[in-house]
Symmetry: C2
Subunit: 247 residues, 2 copies
């Protein structure tokens, strides 16, 4: 993160200001927020030196995980660890964080290459989730690792939504875990996942994964192996349930 | 975490004091530290109401992950996200955190049932890793979610060891990832893992997992499925390398 984006901040001044207003935080170092919305593909295309979001995402991932852990512990003081962990992994997931990002229109701010944009790259879940995490990594860096600030920003913007989604059972379900619990109960076995193919250009691959357990075999497609596995697991879980294997 | 351990703090006064000296932190609420070293098996056996470490471990896991992320970013300002993530997952692993725990003799403080103790429970990696995380969860809770305190404690006790282990390449290797990278390169496939058996009493199960990819089939045993998979992956990785599949 040593190469800063100072040179380019002026050019994206309006975008940065608008985003600051949405988040409710004014950056001392605007180049951090610029980096947080910059996808790797944009770096190659852009005519000036610019930093992408990847390291900020690495940091933001840990920041959000801790903030969510605190929310959960305070909200459910009598919950056991297993339940809290299930909530946390459902919340700190691509599917859910990208939903929160969409809530505040982060998709309008992402800087990606023209090629990626054409493929609706900015709308892809994983990219939005990355940017969401990177923005919190940027806030945390900007306030010199004082967690109070990103925690306050998160709580003000998203805490109520998160708690509401927990109560309404609106969290994405982790079908890989659900399936595994179910097949262990029924067959004493866990499903296996096999990568069948990965097609398309480097920046826009589609992965196909096969999920297999006993007589059940399903496939899932996705923009990441994780996504493809989750879809294959969901299909297998539905099959298991529809075949009435409840005994 | 609402049921406190106040009743039992007196009984374990010396243990708590000794541990506080090792860590270099004096708890306002001693019952938190007592909970952090209490394994579930001890709760059943003990004659008073006592809280186990599980929720503190859930929190501590996120605390340590953030502290490690900061150390890595400051230490390697030019590293890419991929490299940082690899370091982080190697450090925030059962194998590595239990090593740090052993460094400060946490194994002497764990409260477990007589049955577990007989099976050398306290020395098991996963338990030590749990307690290590729980202690940091307890510190974080005790200082009312002020990250500065656990960060300072961690850095004073462990930062130098961690940085040294990175530089000396002493971090545990993630054989599942290494194997996957290698088999994708060679066969365009990822390995599959199958649970073959889980044997022994509930609190002391041994899992056997089979790893399979192309003509290579290995097994691994461990106290958790994760550990068994890692061992099977390590064997498969070694096989792949010894057969000279470097083309």
């Amino acid at each position: 993160m040593e190469e800063k984006n100072y040179e380019s901040v002026g050019e994206f001044k309006d975008k940065i200001k608008q985003l600051e207003e949405i988040i409710g935080y004014t950056f001392k170092d605007k180049s951090l927020l610029l980096a947080a919305i910059t996808h790797r593909s944009f770096v190659a295309e852009y005519h000036k030196k610019i930093q992408d979001y990847e390291v900020l995402e690495f940091l933001g991932d840990a920041v959000i995980s801790l903030i969510i852990s605190e929310i959960l512990i305070k909200q459910f003081p009598y919950a056991r660890e297993g339940e809290l962990s299930q909530y946390r992994s459902a919340i700190v997931s691509e599917a859910y964080l990208s939903k929160l990002a969409r809530n505040v229109n982060f998709q309008d701010f992402v800087l990606i290459s023209k090629g990626e944009k054409y493929q609706k790259g900015a709308e892809r879940e994983s990219l939005l989730c990355d940017v969401f995490e990177a923005v919190f990594g940027a806030i945390y860096t900007d306030c010199q690792y004082n967690l109070d600030i990103p925690r306050e920003i998160f709580n003000k913007n998203f805490k109520e939504i998160v708690i509401n989604d927990i109560q309404q059972e609106n969290l994405p379900r982790d079908y890989k875990s659900l399936l595994q619990i179910e097949t262990q109960r029924l067959y004493g076995k866990i499903p296996t996942y096999k990568l069948i193919s990965s097609e398309g250009p480097e920046h826009d691959k589609t992965f196909t994964v096969e999920c297999h357990v006993e007589e059940i075999k399903t496939t899932g497609k996705g923009k990441s192996k994780k996504e493809a596995e989750a879809k294959a697991a969901k299909e297998a879980f539905k099959k298991l349930k529809s075949e009435g294997k409840q005994e």
